[in-house]
């Protein structure tokens, strides 16, 4: 029997928390160079809180949309910070996008990625090239759209999304920050990757992983 979309999403958030735990110190170090050194800590607190909130959901009755909106509030209430409103808005928007859906096919994944990146953009009012997490989420969402349009296989689809995310994260090192704390550093932010972009790429990898190992 196929794993429900609800369970896939719950597992996805577990994976996201795992990858953040692995990357935590590295993310804080990146943030120490151009920000206030807490990004790894904030993301770790946030995703632990998401999973704590999800553990109180009954996954047999909850919808995929419920998972996403529970994650949104759990994240927001635990961390605040910049990432709290950004990811909470992203996840909430994804919850809306997946309302009435109970299948997590590639089209649904495309919509989810698109909703997350639009939520982040609307909340943070940043643009591409501002050296933020958006420089990962936007290209990843675009790659997903293109992937569905050209009928990519599931592994190829996720490979394309991951690549776009990784390239986006790497590219932030060549940008001058104009949003968030790093913006005050101006030219001095050059040469440093944006911590929020690096964590976003890691999250997308976790999403890809969870989706690809989905039992069918």
């Amino acid at each position: 029997m196929s794993e429900t979309a609800t369970r896939v999403l719950a597992r996805m958030f577990e994976r996201m928390s795992e990858v953040i735990e692995t990357e935590k110190d590295h993310l804080s170090e990146l943030d120490g160079a151009i920000g206030d050194g807490d990004h790894g800590i904030t993301m770790s607190i946030g995703f632990k809180a998401v999973n704590a909130a999800l553990s109180t959901l009954d996954l047999d009755t909850a919808s995929p949309s419920d998972v996403l909106s529970t994650a949104a509030s759990g994240f927001l209430n635990a961390v605040g910070a910049s990432t709290g409103p950004l990811y909470a808005t992203g996840f909430r928007r994804a919850a809306q996008a997946l309302a009435d859906r109970d299948q997590l096919d590639l089209a649904a994944c495309r919509d989810m990625l698109g909703a997350i990146s639009e939520g982040i953009r609307d909340r943070g009012k940043a643009q591409r090239g501002d050296k933020t997490m958006l420089d990962v989420w936007l290209p990843a969402a675009e790659a997903a759209t293109a992937g569905v349009a050209s009928n990519l296989s599931k592994p190829d689809f996720w490979k394309a999304v991951e690549n776009a995310a990784e390239n986006g994260a790497a590219a932030t090192a060549t940008m001058i920050a104009t949003k968030g704390r790093a913006a005050r550093l101006r030219e001095r932010s050059l040469g440093h990757a944006d911590p929020g972009a690096v964590s976003a790429a890691a999250l997308i990898k976790a999403i890809a992983g969870a989706s690809c190992t989905q039992a069918e």
């Binding site: 120490g32 209430n77 605040g80």
Partner: protein
């Protein structure tokens, strides 16, 4: 870096245990939320409520400024992280006396997003919210982008003026206007000699070379505006004051308030040496110091460094600066006090 800690992940909760116990005479949790504290003698019907807040790691900011005549409630985030909308909204509701609520907090992306989300929630309940972002760190952005600047230790003056305006029974419009004026006339520059370290990492966020200092340092351990060779105390103050004089349009005979603030690890002895030069530079321009504060008023964990803030007074600001207040950290002309704890 060694610290007095138990589990580093519990540091904020444990600090709040200690702080709420120590400052009981001034503040109390709102409901069972320890991230939203309200002044015992703050909110009252007909008075504009003042809500402040931000991340922890800046002690005595922000909790130290909650009490009669100053802020009515404070929302508390994780270390160097804005509080989420929920405790901010709780603060706004608790502070509301039917005359609206003023939010005053530092201009950081995270704080702006969270306070705005909270404002939306609270306005839906019919409580009008106004916001003044503090932007006193004059080297963090050029003057053309004044609104893009960070709020740092000069918060102190902006809070004080806002608290006094609210306590005087001024309207929400008037409170907002005078708070905005206080922010416009507050000028801060900070210098760090060593970066701070988070309880979780216990490593410096970044390294400043043995002969270097960081000019324009932020209060979250984020790097400053330029790395320079360390100079004498007088030369450092001169650089700071030159920056301030470039923007502050003070005439001979004008009055200012001065705050010489430690970032955490810099001791009073050095702050007095800095104050000495600030006083010399001001009096050379025939500017009078109406009041001064020298000490730990807005810190960045254990950062070594200091900031200098000047509030350019006018008659109204002078009046509001002297308005009585009584909090854990600041007691001005306090008419009656309980004599117990002050921190």
């Amino acid at each position: 870096v060694k610290k007095f800690l138990n589990n580093p992940n519990d540091v904020v909760e444990e600090m709040l245990d200690g702080l709420i116990a120590a400052h009981k005479p001034y503040l109390q949790p709102i409901g069972n939320s320890r991230r939203a504290l309200v002044a015992r003698n703050g909110p009252r019907p007909g008075k504009v409520g003042l809500v402040i807040g931000g991340g922890t790691g800046h002690e005595p900011c922000f909790v130290g400024y909650v009490g009669k005549g100053l802020a009515d409630a404070v929302a508390i985030g994780n270390i160097f992280s804005s509080p989420p909308p929920d405790p901010i909204a709780k603060c706004a509701v608790a502070a509301s006396g039917g005359a609206g609520v003023l939010f005053v907090y530092g201009n950081y992306a995270g704080d702006v997003m969270n306070f705005e989300m909270a404002a939306e929630l609270v306005e839906e309940q019919g409580i009008p919210i106004r916001t003044v972002l503090t932007t006193d760190d004059i080297v963090s952005s050029p003057v053309e982008d004044k609104e893009g600047r960070r709020g740092v230790a000069g918060n102190f003056f902006v809070f004080k003026v806002a608290g006094a305006a609210c306590d005087r029974g001024m309207t929400l419009d008037e409170c907002e206007a005078v708070t905005r004026k206080a922010n416009d006339r507050t000028y801060t520059v900070g210098v760090a000699l060593e970066s701070c370290s988070m309880p979780q990492t216990r490593r410096h966020n970044f390294e400043i070379g043995p002969d270097d200092m960081e000019l324009g340092m932020g209060i979250h351990g984020e790097p400053g505006v330029s790395r320079e060779r360390i100079r004498t105390a007088d030369e450092i103050v001169d650089t700071i004051m030159d920056n301030i004089f470039k923007e502050m349009k003070a005439e001979p005979g004008d009055r200012v308030a001065v705050l010489v603030n430690s970032f955490g690890a810099t001791p009073l002895m050095e702050l007095y040496i800095l104050f000495r030069r600030v006083e010399q530079r001001l009096s050379a321009k025939n500017i009078t110091i109406e009041a001064n504060w020298v000490g730990h008023y807005c810190t960045s964990l254990d950062m070594v460094g200091a900031s200098i803030s000047i509030l350019h007074l006018d008659r109204q600001l002078t009046d509001l600066l002297h308005h009585p207040c009584q909090t854990a950290i600041l007691s001005i002309n306090a008419p009656e006090t309980d004599g117990a704890a002050r921190g």
